[in-house]
Amino acid sequence: MVASAICGRGMRRIMARPTLIMPVLLMPLIFVLSFTGAFGSLTRVEGYGTDNVFNWMAVYAAMQGAVFAGVGGASTTAEDIENGFFDRLLLTPGSRVPILIGTMAYSALRSTIPTTGVLLVSALGGLRLPGGPLTLVTVYVATAGIASAFCLLGLAVVYRFRTMRSMILIQVCGFSLMFLSTGQVPIHFMNGWLHAVARVNPVTNVLRFARQGFLGDLTWSMTWPGLVALGAMVVTAGALAVHQLRRLTG
C-alpha cells in the first residue's frame, strides 16, 4: 500500500541518518528536566493536583515533543520538494492522498520515540501511575494524535509555501498553543484572558485526557472530550492539507 510505503521510507531514513531524530528526542528530555527542576516547587501550592512534579510535567513535555515530531514529519516533505523528489511522488497514478496519510502515520510513529524517552526519564525521576498501565495508553494516543495534527498542519503550510523556513512558524505556533493551556499549571490557577484562552484551547482537553492517569483514576468523562479534541484537530488539519495538496499543481 502506498501509505505504508511512504511511512516505511520515513522510518528507514531515520535509520540512515540517526541525527535526524536526535533533536526530536533531546528537546522534550531537556524540557522535562528543566521544567521539573525549575518549577518543582509548584507542587507546594495548594490545589496543584499532585505532589509529584513529574506526574504533572511529563505529559506536557511528551506533547511538546509530539509537536516537534509532527513538524519534523512535514519537514521531510519540505526537503523532498526542495530537492525534486516530491515530483516523483506526485507522479503516482491514482489519488495522492495516501502520500499524505503515509507522512502523517510516519509522524505519529516518530512521536513514540520522544514520548518513550520522556516517560523513561520521568520514571527515573519518580513518575508514578495511580491510574494503572492504561495511563500509558492515553499518553501514546494523545502524542500520536498531536503529532499527526501538527504534521498535517505542517504539510498544509509546506504545500503552500514550499520552503523549509515555514516549518519554524508552525513549530512556534505549536509551542505557543501548548503553552496557552494547562501545560504547567491547572486551569483554576489561571485568571483573566489566559483562563478564557485555555478553556477554549483543544489542547487543554487533550492534556486532561492524557494526564488523568497520573493524577488519579481514568474516567470516561475526562476521556471523551480529549478524544473529540484530538479528532477535531486531526480532521481540520487534514482538510487543510488535502486542500493545499490539490492546489499544488495549479
Binding site: L33, S34, G37, A38, F39, S41, S176, F189
Partner: protein
C-alpha cells in the same frame, strides 16, 4: 577624530577593491580598525533590519511567556521563600529581557558561518582588514538590535504595570548586562562558526542557550529549588547575572549589585571574543 560618512565610504571601498585608497595611508592602525569595525557593523545592522521578520519572534515570544506565567503564577508568588513582589511581572522582567536578546545572539555566529560557507569571508580576508574588526563588526549588529529590543521590552513591561525600584539607572544596567551577554554568546557562536564553518552547527546552540535560561534563577528563585537542579541553577552564570539585576529592580539601587550584573557578562565576553580571535588567527595563519 569623528567617523564621518566619507571615512565609512573609504573603508567600504577598500573592502571592495582590495587596494587601499590614497587617504588610507593617513588612517592607519587603530583609526583604520575603528573605521572598519563601523563599516562592518553598519553592514550587520542593515542585514538584520532586512530580516526584521526574524526579530519579531524574539520580542513576541518572551512577552507571551511572561504574560502567561504572570497569570499562571498568581498563587505561586505567595509561596514562603519567594521574593516579595506585587506580581510575577516584576519578577520575570530580567528573564524576559535575557530571553529576548538570546534569540538574536547566535545571529553573529550564523552570519559568520554563512559568510564562510558562501565564500564572502575570503573576500573580506584579502581586504586590509585586521582580525578584530571582522568579528566585532558582526557583533556590533547584534548589539544594536539587542539594545533596541531591551528598551522595547522594558517599555512594554512598564506599560503593564511593572515597577523598577532602582530607577532609570537600574534599567540602564539591565540593558547593558543583556547587551554584554549577547556579546558573550555571540563570541561563542563565532568560535563555533570558525571551527565548523557550518550554519547548522551554530544554530544548534540556540536550543542550548534557550534551555540554560530555564536552568537558572530566571523563572523561579533558586532558593525554592531542590536537589541537583538547584546546584545546576546556582552554578549557571545566567543566575549570577539575573539575581543582582532582579535585586536592582525589586529592592532598589546598589553599587555592588550593579557591579556584579555588569562584571559577570563582561568577563565572559572578553573570554569568548578572545577565543574567537585566537580561533580566527589559527584558521588564517597570521595576524
Amino acid at each position: 577624530m569623528t567617523c564621518s560618512p566619507t571615512r565609512l565610504a573609504v573603508a567600504l571601498r577598500e573592502l571592495k577593491s582590495e587596494r587601499p585608497t590614497v587617504s588610507a595611508g593617513a588612517a592607519t592602525g587603530l583609526r583604520l580598525a575603528r573605521v572598519q569595525t563601523l563599516a562592518l557593523t553598519r553592514r550587520s545592522v542593515i542585514s538584520e533590519w532586512r530580516q526584521l521578520g526574524n526579530v519579531i519572534p524574539g520580542i513576541v515570544f518572551p512577552l507571551l511567556l511572561a504574560a502567561v506565567y504572570t497569570h499562571q503564577f498568581t498563587r505561586v508568588i505567595l509561596l514562603p521563600g519567594f521574593p516579595v513582589v506585587d506580581s510575577f511581572l516584576d519578577f520575570v522582567l530580567p528573564a524576559s529581557l535575557v530571553q529576548s536578546v538570546s534569540f538574536g545572539a547566535t545571529e553573529a555566529g550564523t552570519e559568520l558561518a554563512r559568510d564562510i560557507e558562501n565564500g564572502f569571508f575570503d573576500r573580506l580576508r584579502v581586504s586590509p582588514c585586521t582580525r578584530l574588526p571582522l568579528l566585532l563588526g558582526r557583533l556590533g549588529g547584534a548589539v544594536v538590535v539587542a539594545a533596541a529590543k531591551g528598551v522595547l521590552i522594558i517599555a512594554i513591561f512598564l506599560l503593564f504595570g511593572a515597577e523598577i525600584a532602582g530607577g532609570p539607572a537600574a534599567a540602564v544596567v539591565l540593558v547593558a548586562a543583556a547587551v554584554l551577554l549577547v556579546i558573550a554568546i555571540g563570541g561563542l557562536g563565532q568560535v563555533l562558526a570558525i571551527i565548523t564553518g557550518s550554519q547548522e552547527a551554530v544554530n544548534a546552540t540556540f536550543p542550548l542557550v534557550f534551555t540554560s535560561i530555564f536552568m537558572s534563577s530566571a523563572f523561579f528563585p533558586t532558593n525554592l529549588m531542590s536537589g541537583w537542579f538547584r546546584e545546576v541553577a546556582e552554578a549557571n552564570p545566567v543566575t549570577w547575572i539575573i539575581d543582582p539585576v532582579r535585586r536592582l529592580i525589586l529592592d532598589g539601587w546598589s553599587w555592588s549589585d550593579a557591579g556584579q550584573a555588569l562584571a559577570v557578562p563582561l568577563v565572559i565576553s572578553v573570554v569568548t571574543v578572545t577565543m574567537a580571535v585566537v580561533a580566527l588567527n589559527r584558521k588564517l595563519g597570521s595576524s
